[in-house]
């Protein structure tokens, strides 16, 4: 297969480090798979929106559409032995790490076939066997956790790294600074990836951060600013960061990206930003459209071939939803499983049930 060299949309900006080259190597099949995978993610999130509106998904639900290039670009440069951890906006990271649509939708709908058997919900997806450690609901908490994964990788001499994803809002959390200091002291292979979508809920970055230059916020830790809407730039940055971190310790990547949806389903996403801003990004920076254009300019596929892919993707999503809907709710006994690794012992279960109301037999009867 021929290699294609593409220039990133904008140059990287480095903090205390020389940035990598703007020229990124790719291949026709890689570009086509970028197109397919990002379209799949986009479609999944749009479908989740509908499922939410038809009340099949409950509670919080944070969609990733607009940010797909970050998930895909990272994945391209690393292996499943490298680890990723993120916040609640986790559906697409899960997918990128090899999770299936059926498991994702089942989890969203609280079904048995879900990746967390319906017990976690939208914010708590995991795929440990391919290095995805969740899915965390507390803003900022995933960063020390991710540095801990990196600690373990180094401890076990695995030669792998961890990417901890967090938002621009999360970037002000004190625990990031604490974890970064420790990671730097211990040379952990920890890469902090700030997905700067410019808003933390309804708060614009500059209202939450005196210095919204997140790639510089590590102070003594090097950083790189990356166009997070350009999957090839993300790919290049991830490769660069992984190499750096294995040799030298932590590094920050700031991904300049955008979420099209509101923060979560209760937020229309239009009170604190203009519709023009959103449509401007869609028109000029959309990560899928950028790849579509590259495919056209290198004549790797026709418009109708790409439409076909989009149709396939749509069908895949629809099929997955149909299958997920068939999955039953968790068995009631699951209420009491997984609290501990070994489940409750008999005595403990008795205690627990007692506390829970002496006669809630429907639950109690089926315990061990």
């Amino acid at each position: 297969e021929p290699t294609i060299t593409v220039e990133t949309s904008v140059p990287f900006t480095g903090h205390k480090i020389d940035p990598p080259s703007r020229s990124v190597e790719t291949t026709p099949s890689e570009l086509l798979s970028f197109f397919r995978e990002m379209s799949l993610m986009r479609r999944m999130e749009i479908a989740a929106d509908s499922l939410y509106k038809s009340k099949l998904i409950r509670g919080f639900c944070h969609l990733y559409d607009g940010q797909e290039a970050v998930a895909i670009g990272l994945e391209t440069s690393i292996t499943k032995k490298d680890a990723i951890i993120t916040a609640y906006r986790d559906h697409c990271i899960y997918l990128a790490r090899g999770g299936t649509l059926v498991e994702a939708f089942s989890e969203l709908m609280g079904r048995r076939a879900g990746c967390s058997k319906g017990k976690g919900g939208s914010m708590h997806f995991y795929k440990k066997d391919s290095g995805f450690f969740g899915g965390h609901g507390i803003v900022g908490a995933q960063v020390p956790l991710g540095c801990g994964l990196a600690f373990a990788q180094k401890y076990l001499k695995e030669g792998t790294v961890t990417f901890s994803l967090y938002g621009d809002g999360a970037a002000n959390q004190g625990q990031l600074f604490e974890a970064l200091n420790i990671s730097a002291l211990w040379d952990l292979p920890a890469i902090l990836v700030c997905e700067n979508n410019h808003y933390g809920m309804g708060t614009a970055e500059w209202r939450a951060a005196k210095s919204p230059a997140y790639y510089k916020r590590g102070d003594y830790v090097p950083g790189l600013k990356v166009d997070g809407m350009d999957v090839l730039a993300v790919k290049q940055a991830a490769k660069f960061a992984k190499e750096y971190a294995l040799k030298n310790g932590p590094m920050i990547l700031e991904m300049d990206t955008y979420r099209y949806h509101g923060h979560s389903m209760s937020d229309p996403g239009s009170t604190y930003r203009t519709r023009d801003e959103i449509s401007g990004v869609r028109q000029e920076r959309d990560p899928i459209e950028r790849v579509r254009k590259l495919i056209f300019s290198h004549e790797l596929a026709t418009a109708s071939e790409l439409k076909d892919i989009e149709k396939e993707v749509r069908k895949e999503v629809d099929d997955a939803i149909a299958e997920a809907k068939e999955s039953p709710m968790p068995d009631p006994s699951e209420l009491f499983t997984n609290v501990f690794v070994k489940g409750f012992g008999v005595e403990v279960s008795r205690n627990t049930c007692m506390s829970f109301g002496a006669d809630r037999k429907e639950v109690k009867a089926i315990l061990p």
Partner: protein
């Protein structure tokens, strides 16, 4: 007239801010966004950005700043988007706020309110559903309030803001939209409820049911069901978990001789356990049946709708427990 709990909270904030220029509100999205749950709607416009402050998502930082401002004599209201996030700031609530008046022998008082939704919402999973009532009420120096109705919300929030001590004010997201009738008196800007006093929501003679926050509504529903079966339940809305109104609880149990405690939080070392203890301490000989505790299941909150429903008390659980208590007399004590 009926108003929602949201309106009750909003009007309480508004009135107290207008009454005392030292009162200000800070928290995530309280200003331009009008509050994540719209509790602070209109306040930024009315009181300006000096008194309604949007903060970054840094609970330890802004709660600490709030406590410091209270040391200096201001009256901060710190909103946690939900109390789950108060764990990031809990050292300031406990060590900086609750203990300072004592450690300084009264020099440093801390007139601050920490407020926001607490406990289970709907479908938000394990990290966003914890009830912090028992935790905060464990700690001397704090007052812990748990409003149920719109009247509670108004009267207790106004009391909390005027109080010279740190108050943890635990709201419930699922109640925000609920409407309750309120008296003209309760709508008056001078209205205020006493801290540390429970409210008997419904009088009864056969069994006492204690509850707080959303569970008061469940207890009242259970009392309705029980009355159709000839059981007269007395429902106590605790309103304050710390101080706990032991007098009202014990007086009721001395009358009904039976007690059911209801809470959504985890059972162990929970509110029900303390109420049981307080009745055993003061009114043991009046108990005709074991105290029954209805609590959240002793598991992190699951997401799936069926499991979630099982994880929190339902009206029917309260009804069954009350019946059990009423139909079972206490056996004579075993010989010593």
């Amino acid at each position: 007239k009926e108003i929602t709990v949201r309106e009750a909270l909003n009007s309480a904030l508004d009135e107290e801010m207008s009454a005392d220029p030292k009162v200000f509100l800070m928290g995530e999205e309280v200003g331009e966004y009008q509050g994540a749950y719209k509790i602070s709607k209109g306040l930024l416009e009315k009181y300006g950005p000096e008194r309604v402050l949007d903060t970054p998502i840094t609970e330890a930082g802004f709660a600490g700043i709030g406590v410091g401002a209270a040391y200096y004599g201001l009256r901060p209201i710190v909103e946690f988007m939900t109390f789950n996030f108060s764990m990031q700031a809990i050292d300031h609530i406990i060590n900086s706020a609750a203990k300072s008046n004592y450690m300084s022998a009264g020099q440093i008082s801390v007139p601050i309110v920490f407020r926001g939704p607490n406990g289970a919402a709907a479908g938000v999973g394990a990290q966003h559903s914890q009830c912090f009532g028992a935790w905060y009420a464990h700690v001397p120096g704090l007052k812990v309030l748990t409003p149920y109705s719109s009247e509670d919300a108004r009267g207790l929030l106004k009391a909390a803001i005027r109080d010279p001590d740190p108050v943890v004010f635990l709201e419930n997201e699922l109640l925000y939209g609920e409407s309750f009738p309120v008296s003209a008196e309760a709508l008056d800007s001078s209205f205020c409820l006493p801290i540390g006093k429970a409210k008997i929501e419904r009088e009864g003679k056969d069994v006492t049911i204690t509850a707080f926050s959303k569970m008061v509504g469940y207890a009242l529903q259970a009392a309705d069901v029980l009355s159709t079966e000839g059981i007269s339940a007395e429902v106590i809305n605790l309103r304050s978990i710390r101080p706990l109104d032991r007098a009202t609880i014990n007086a009721s149990v001395r009358k009904t001789n039976r007690l059911i405690t209801v809470e959504e939080g985890f059972p162990q070392h929970g509110v029900g356990a303390e109420i049981c203890m307080s009745v055993v301490e003061e009114s043991f000989e009046y108990l005709d049946a074991p105290v029954e505790r209805i609590a959240g299941a002793d598991v992190p909150m699951p997401y799936a709708a069926n499991l979630e429903r099982m994880a929190v008390p339902q009206v029917d659980d309260i009804v069954r427990a009350a019946k059990r208590a009423c139909y079972r007399a206490v056996p004579l004590a075993a010989a010593a």
